[in-house]
């Protein structure tokens, strides 16, 4: 049982004893926050890792004795070990269904032996074919079990295998490969949602988006990838606000984290814009059919991003029922909207004659985000927000050291300012903490 659940259970008991809530309400609250896989994640992970290592040990044992075994003995070993592992899991499921970790563990061993079986059969028959095929077969085997059991760990294995499949097809064989990303999006993201698994959601999201962008960048055009990454990141942040009100509210954390990370990366990259570098981010002027289609998709994303953030921003400003959003957050929403608009105008080539202005805008946006994050973090005593804001701001100033500030006087002033600001932030944070404790 997780620490949060233990605390809640004890608090519920106290509330019942003090007459704050009745027994019925206590049961409702307790069932709402029952333990899931994620709350026993440590034990689950231990079982899964143990199963994987055990499976590898079995494989090594086969390998040690491999040369002395006749062919059909080898095949029998492969099939028997696969069936025994899965059958054991099935038997435990029927007799002790509450022993989920053990069931999952044996199924993981079975899946690992399935993969080993593919490679071992290839070894027996000296098969030297298109090796990515082995990964997709293995991955689909894991995916099928992920849905059948259902199992988060099988989903994670499937995500990894399908990603290896897509990446090897793309990098090793120069094949445009959307199928792998599509399979993860259609096969694993829904599973993550149904299982309410943030880890699986994070992994599937990162892998599928990564594959899509990799395909587009390598096979079509890297500039289009950049615009798509920027707009997708902002859309992910927006989707977090929708997810909060969905059946899986905790998915908002994942969506927001991935979105913010990608958004921050894009912003940071654009702060380095110079006249020389701008030529590398201009849209292709005479695109072929595939590139043209990709450009249209890119514009679809950009316009959707602007539209979505217009709605979010203005709806947030006007709604009276909205949760009391801190003004810093509203300001950050405004900055994201501005980013979306600027990115779109940039893609349209409207900043071609004024690159320095564009770079300054991105620098200002990023610096503003940092400052707002620091303020909100200080206000809410959220040390992570304060830390991220301070570090990002410091990095931004550091990298701008050479290219924006020619004058030594200016440089020293900026450093003095930043140093003083960080000192002040630390002081304000400590003061706020004391004030909060006093109020409590």
């Amino acid at each position: 049982m997780s620490r949060n659940t233990v605390w809640l259970r004890s608090e519920i008991q106290t509330w019942v004893q003090e007459g704050v809530i009745d027994e019925n309400t206590a049961k409702i609250i307790a069932s709402r926050y029952s333990d899931t896989h994620e709350s026993s994640w440590g034990l689950f992970l231990l079982t899964a890792v143990g199963a994987i290592i055990f499976g590898l040990g079995v494989i090594l044992f086969f390998a040690y004795n491999w040369a002395d075994l006749p062919k059909f003995a080898k095949l029998a070993l492969i099939f028997l070990s696969l069936l025994i592992a899965h059958a054991t899991a099935l038997i435990i499921r029927l007799r002790q269904p509450q022993n989920r970790n053990l069931i999952e563990g044996f199924h993981v061993v079975g899946t690992m032996l399935f993969g080993a079986g593919i490679w071992l059969v290839a070894q027996i028959y000296n098969i030297d074919e298109h090796y990515p095929t082995a990964f997709v077969i293995w991955g689909i085997g894991a995916l099928a079990l992920a849905w059948a059991i259902p199992s988060v760990i099988q989903g994670l294995i499937a995500s990894l295998l399908l990603t290896v499949w897509g990446t090897s097809e793309l990098v090793d064989f120069d094949n445009l490969h959307i199928a792998s990303a599509a399979l993860i999006m259609l096969g694993i993201l829904p599973l993550a949602w149904i299982q309410r698994s943030r880890v699986l959601l994070l992994v599937a999201l990162v892998f599928s988006l990564g594959l899509l962008l990799l395909n587009t960048g390598i096979y079509i055009n890297s500039i289009i990838v950049f615009y798509m990454l920027g707009s997708l990141s902002m859309l992910l942040i927006a989707s977090a606000y929708v997810a909060i009100h969905s059946a899986f509210p905790r998915s908002a954390d994942v969506l927001r984290s991935v979105g913010v990370a990608a958004y921050g990366l894009c912003l940071f990259t654009m702060t380095f814009l110079t006249i020389d570098l701008y030529t590398y981010i201009v849209q292709p002027t005479q695109p072929d059919d595939v590139t043209l289609f990709a450009i249209k998709v890119q514009w679809g994303f950009l316009l959707a991003t602007v539209l979505v953030w217009c709605v979010l921003f203005f709806r947030g400003m006007q709604s009276k029922k909205a949760v009391d959003i801190p003004s810093t957050k509203s300001a950050q929403h405004c900055l994201i909207l501005v980013s979306a608009i600027v990115l779109s105008l940039q893609a349209a080539g409207l900043f071609a004659s004024n690159i320095q202005l564009l770079a300054m805008i991105y620098n200002a946006i990023l610096a503003s985000h940092c400052v707002l994050l620091i303020i909100r973090g200080t206000d809410n005593l959220a040390w992570r927000q304060v830390t991220i804001g301070c570090i990002t701001l410091a990095i931004l100033v550091y990298v701008r050291f050479n290219d924006l500030f020619d004058s030594l006087l200016l440089r020293s002033l900026v450093f003095l300012l930043i140093g003083a600001m960080l000192f002040l932030i630390g002081h304000l944070y400590a003061k706020r903490k004391v004030q909060r404790q006093t109020d409590a």
Binding site: A63, F114, V121, I124, Y125, I127
Partner: protein
């Protein structure tokens, strides 16, 4: 119900493995059996784990003509490709041509096709280049055995023993490597210290057709630039047919179908004599290759104006060459009690500067 679904997924996993096994077993049981000589491969290739890399003539597009449909077709990585094989009197199958269209099924006893995929469409002559792969390029052996195989196949400067792969081919051209055997004869190439380059005058005379014999490379004729040694590695006596001026042996470009050179007409052209030479177990036959002799001269493929010359005089072209023993075109020996060994012996490749590949 859920347990049933899980059981079905497990059955599907087992079924996939079973499909792999039975598919291959079916080919081994019913497919056409062929034996193909492997080509030399760079021993510096790291073999992962316990397998040995194999290379065949059909792995390089330069080894045989291509019959693409349409003619303008350009092989692209990942494309399906077919290598047509024909049998030789030795029992080995050799590459006839490449095509991108699937032939009719492997029903003929005279020709078979093997299915593969394009790896690259660049023309290579090096050992480690693969234009196409056919699924039989790796052989899994027990731990430690790979090194022994590599050594027996021949390292740089060592005795080359051809490994002959036994392959079963299914009706759709899918191949399964089932076994291997070793050629009973090995061939050793040696480039001696007397291998010298030619100067510009000698090069010019070679391409313009000067009759000046003084233009030939000035070498010490007592030590030939290249030596070949053929050794009987088996435990039985072997008789080869080597008529005339070592006419069983030829100097061939490594990129046979794409070379700018071809063998010049010499004393061996049209020679159908029989000169049996028996090698007892362990015995070796040594042959001196005096490149300046007209017997070993080459001529440019598409330029009738050039005279035949020593390969070293054509330094404007950079190619690799091999000394090859091919069974002369006499299948019935005069003495049937000592049949001739049938097969090919291929030496390591060397270039016009004397560097061994």
């Amino acid at each position: 119900m859920r347990s049933l679904i899980i059981a079905l997924c497990i059955a599907a996993q087992a079924a996939v493995l079973a499909y792999m096994v039975f598919g291959r077993e079916h080919i081994i049981a019913t497919g056409q059996k062929v034996t193909i000589a492997t080509a030399p491969i760079d021993p510096r290739d790291p073999f992962r784990g316990d397998f040995v890399r194999l290379k065949y003539p059909m792995n390089s597009f330069s080894a045989a003509p291509t019959r693409w449909a349409p003619e303008s077709y350009e092989p692209r990585k990942g494309d399906r490709i077919y290598a047509i094989l024909k049998p030789r009197s030795s029992g080995l199958y050799e590459l006839s041509y490449f095509t991108n269209e699937q032939p009719d099924g492997n029903t003929s006893n005279t020709t078979v096709y093997i299915r593969g995929r394009v790896q690259s469409n660049r023309q290579f002559s090096g050992r480690n280049s693969f234009n196409a792969k056919f699924g039989v390029e790796q052989l899994y052996v027990q731990q430690g055995a790979g090194i022994d195989i590599e050594e027996r196949r021949g390292i740089r400067g060592g005795m080359q023993t051809a490994m002959e792969a036994e392959i079963a081919i299914g009706k759709n051209g899918t191949a399964v490597l089932t076994d291997y055997r070793w050629s009973p004869l090995g061939i050793l190439l040696e480039v001696t210290d007397s291998f010298t380059l030619v100067n510009d005058e000698q090069q010019s005379n070679a391409t313009t057709g000067s009759q000046d014999t003084d233009s030939q490379p000035n070498t010490d004729v007592t030590i030939p630039p290249v030596k070949i040694q053929v050794q009987n590695l088996s435990d039985q006596s072997i008789t080869i047919n080597n008529p005339g001026d070592n006419c069983g042996f030829r100097l061939e470009p490594a990129m046979l179908s794409n070379s700018v050179f071809k063998e010049a007409i010499n004393s061996c052209t049209g020679n159908t004599d029989e000169v049996p030479y028996t090698l007892t177990p362990g015995q070796a036959l040594s042959i001196d290759i005096n490149l300046q002799d007209t017997r070993w001269h080459v001529v440019l493929n598409n330029n009738e104006d050039t005279l035949p010359g020593d390969i070293r005089s054509f330094t404007q072209y950079s190619e690799l060459f091999r000394v090859v023993y091919r069974t002369p075109q006499i299948n019935e020996p005069t003495d049937p009690s000592t049949p001739y060994w049938q097969g090919d012996l291929v030496s390591q490749a060397f270039n016009q500067q004397g560097w061994i590949d």
